[in-house]
């Protein structure tokens, strides 16, 4: 188990270096530079432009800038935002809970709906239920997030006026963040109606962000389940006289979950990518929105640091998924070493 863990961590190192290079290079490929964007409409003289670039160190050769950046990372320093002058890491941490909260809700939504839907479709395969579940999943999967988000806002916020349009909580409420998770903080604040307000702000973004993972999980569960249901051990379970609920929910599901867990893990990347759009649509103050804002400002340190942190999170989550995979699949646990 330890050896397995070490090997997996070893594999992460080259990936990490690659991500560092990519995140550094990506933002510099975009036209424009931070100085120009800070100057904005007023513009500035070429001499002043030169001087400011020099002041920030952007006049030096790229490889030099990169090496500086690279070695700073290993000292735990991601640099400072050009805009706020705050350390990138604390900027990230301040917004991270909002994204975590949204992503967690989205994945819980996707798993809680996707696994039962996929199981049901598999058990009733070929029926109208199966076709409608899988048809809906296909639509959900192909829905552009932006369009889907706007559609839901128009319908539920605009026409029905059930949910708020943007933000994490109504402006009526204010309390200092304790955990950074609005659902928990609103409860802790003890203010009447705060929690309900937080929940109602979460619903639409959760649905929008969770739709693609939901569709993917439902489809994967269905196909894994179909495969497992024709296995010999399922027949053995039936031959014991077990009720269908137990045969499907225990014997088949446990095996079908093995590929589904991997799929769920892979959705973390999808979620973080989706968070960028979702947070922008709903003005959700998380790292996705922060990334978009930073890109528009050409805030080099924020973008490269933010991308690096997001990549690190995806890698860590994938590692955790691999470990869980071993827990749920005894064959890996004992043979993988």
């Amino acid at each position: 188990m330890i050896a397995f863990l070490l090997r997996r961590i070893g594999l992460l190192i080259p990936t990490f270096i690659g991500v560092t290079i990519a995140s550094f290079g990506f933002i510099r490929l975009l036209p424009g530079d931070p100085v120009l964007l800070m100057a904005g409409e007023r513009g500035l003289t070429p001499e002043r432009h030169e001087a400011l670039l020099k002041q920030f160190g952007f006049d030096r050769p790229l490889w030099e800038q990169f090496l500086d950046y690279f070695f700073a990372i290993f000292q735990g320093d991601l640099g400072q935002s050009l805009v706020t002058k705050e350390p990138v890491f604390s900027e990230f941490l301040a917004r991270f809970p909002a994204t975590i909260e949204l992503s967690l809700c989205a994945i819980i939504f996707a798993v809680a709906l996707g696994i039962p839907a996929g199981m049901f479709a598999a058990v009733k395969r070929g029926s109208t239920y199966d076709h409608s579940i899988m048809g809906t999943a296909l639509v959900g999967y192909s829905m552009p997030i932006f369009w889907w988000g706007l559609l839901l806002i128009i319908f539920f916020s605009g026409i029905l006026k059930w949910t708020p349009v943007s933000g994490r909580i109504s402006l009526m409420f204010f309390f200092p963040p304790v955990t950074g998770f609005m659902l928990i903080d609103s409860l802790l604040s003890g203010q009447k109606g705060a929690f309900t307000s937080a929940v109602s702000h979460l619903i639409l973004p959760t649905v929008v962000l969770g739709t693609i993972p939901l569709a993917v999980i439902a489809r994967q569960t269905r196909s894994a389940m179909l495969e497992v249901l024709s296995e010999d051990y399922v027949r053995t379970a039936k031959a014991k006289g077990l009720a269908p609920v137990r045969v499907i929910g225990v014997h088949a599901l446990r095996n079908a979950l093995i590929p589904v867990i991997t799929t769920i893990g892979l959705q973390v990347g999808v979620l973080l990518a989706g968070a960028i759009l979702t947070e922008t649509i709903f003005s959700w103050p998380g790292i996705g929105k922060w990334m978009v804002d930073s890109i528009f400002r050409r805030d080099y340190p924020s973008v490269q640091g933010g991308l690096l942190l997001i990549a690190a999170i995806v890698m860590i989550v994938n590692l955790i998924v691999d470990l869980m995979y071993g827990l749920i699949n005894p064959r890996i646990r004992h043979t993988g070493g």
Binding site: T236, A239, K240, L242, A243, N255, N329, R331
Partner: protein, 332 residues
């Protein structure tokens, strides 16, 4: 009345090419203490018939029978819930592939305990001690340790012993063993069979043994039912079957044994079992039968009502000679 009574069991599968009859008017009986062997080539519907009896076939199968009774209860009209009270408890089954018949995600102990929990309502500790007892009974060393093992940590032979332990956990009255040794190597095969027979004798349960192995039949069974293309072609006590086979198919099977007692595998006869699309009009064995006449090719042989064991043949053999056969010329 026998423990298990099957009369004219028919199973049809809905396939892309239409209905396929995998079991055709099969009748069987088994009583406590019986060891009945079912033999026949691959595809002759041995497994399907037993799975139909237990209600384990997929939804594409249509099962009909004039009678399908176990212990006086009608399995056919019984509700699914009612049937689940019987299978796994009074009737249990061992499958051909021990490695894939156990769930890879659960421990041996868990899989052993399940049936005891639902059928006998045993507590956790009682299940554990009974599981250890059972593993010991089927000859698994260090059962206290094995209880926490997963199937992939055991050999095929050990897994088959576990399957047997699961099958006998609730003291069944009828045990169906579907080619329990085919996937195992020869030395293990003998041990597993010996174990099955020992358990059968100790508990006086009925044992239906499906096999390809004529050697196994000779050594273990009391009665033998020979199946061909979904039909039972004849049934006899084991000694007289080997002495004087009545159906040309049985005779061909036995004749193809190079040295009867030595061959372990079912011998091959020229030709193949008819499938869905080449089912003959007359006797199903006619295309491969050396005695087949025009009548055999056009008219299916039937048994008299109430007769379920005689050879399904117009000219049953007596000491190798077809009775009432019109002779070589007419056979052409």
């Amino acid at each position: 009345m026998a423990l298990l009574e099957i009369e004219n069991l028919t199973v049809e599968f809905a396939t892309a090419g239409g209905q396929f009859r995998a079991v055709d008017r099969l009748s069987l009986q088994a009583d406590a203490g019986d060891v009945l062997a079912i033999v026949g080539e691959s595809g002759s519907g041995k497994s399907v018939a037993m799975l139909a009896m237990m209600g384990l076939l997929p939804w594409t199968a249509t099962v009909t029978a004039d009678r399908l009774q176990f212990d006086g209860k009608d399995l056919l009209t019984m509700s699914a819930a009612g049937r689940r009270k019987i299978i796994g408890k009074d009737i249990s089954m061992i499958f051909q592939e021990p490695m894939s018949s156990l769930n890879p995600c659960f421990t041996i102990g868990f899989q052993l305990g399940e049936a005891m929990k639902i059928h006998l309502g045993l507590s956790r500790e009682a299940r554990r001690s009974r599981a250890i007892e059972l593993l010991d009974l089927v000859g698994i060393p260090a059962p206290e340790k094995r209880i926490g093992s997963f199937p992939h940590q055991l050999s095929g032979g050990m897994n088959q012993r576990v399957m047997i332990a699961i099958a006998i956990a609730c003291n069944p009255k009828l045990l169906v063993a579907d080619e329990p040794t085919t996937a195992l190597d020869v030395t293990i095969q003998a041990q597993i069979l010996e174990l099955l027979l020992k358990l059968q004798q100790e508990t006086d349960m009925a044992l239906i043994l499906i096999t390809h192995d004529m050697g196994v039949v000779a050594e273990t069974a009391q009665r033998v039912s020979v199946q061909y293309a979904g039909q039972k072609v004849e049934e006899q006590p084991v000694a007289s079957l080997f002495d004087d086979p009545r159906h040309p198919y049985t005779a061909a099977l036995l004749a193809a044994l190079p040295e009867r007692a030595h061959s372990r595998q079912l011998p091959s006869i020229p030709g193949v079992v008819p499938g869905q699309f080449d089912r003959p009009d007359g006797c199903l064995f006619a295309p491969r039968c050396t005695f087949a006449t025009n009548r055999c090719r056009t008219e299916p042989p039937e048994r008299a009502k109430g007769d379920t064991t005689s050879a399904l043949c117009f000219y049953p053999l007596r000491n190798g000679v077809p009775q009432g056969h019109p002779g070589k010329e007419a056979a052409e």
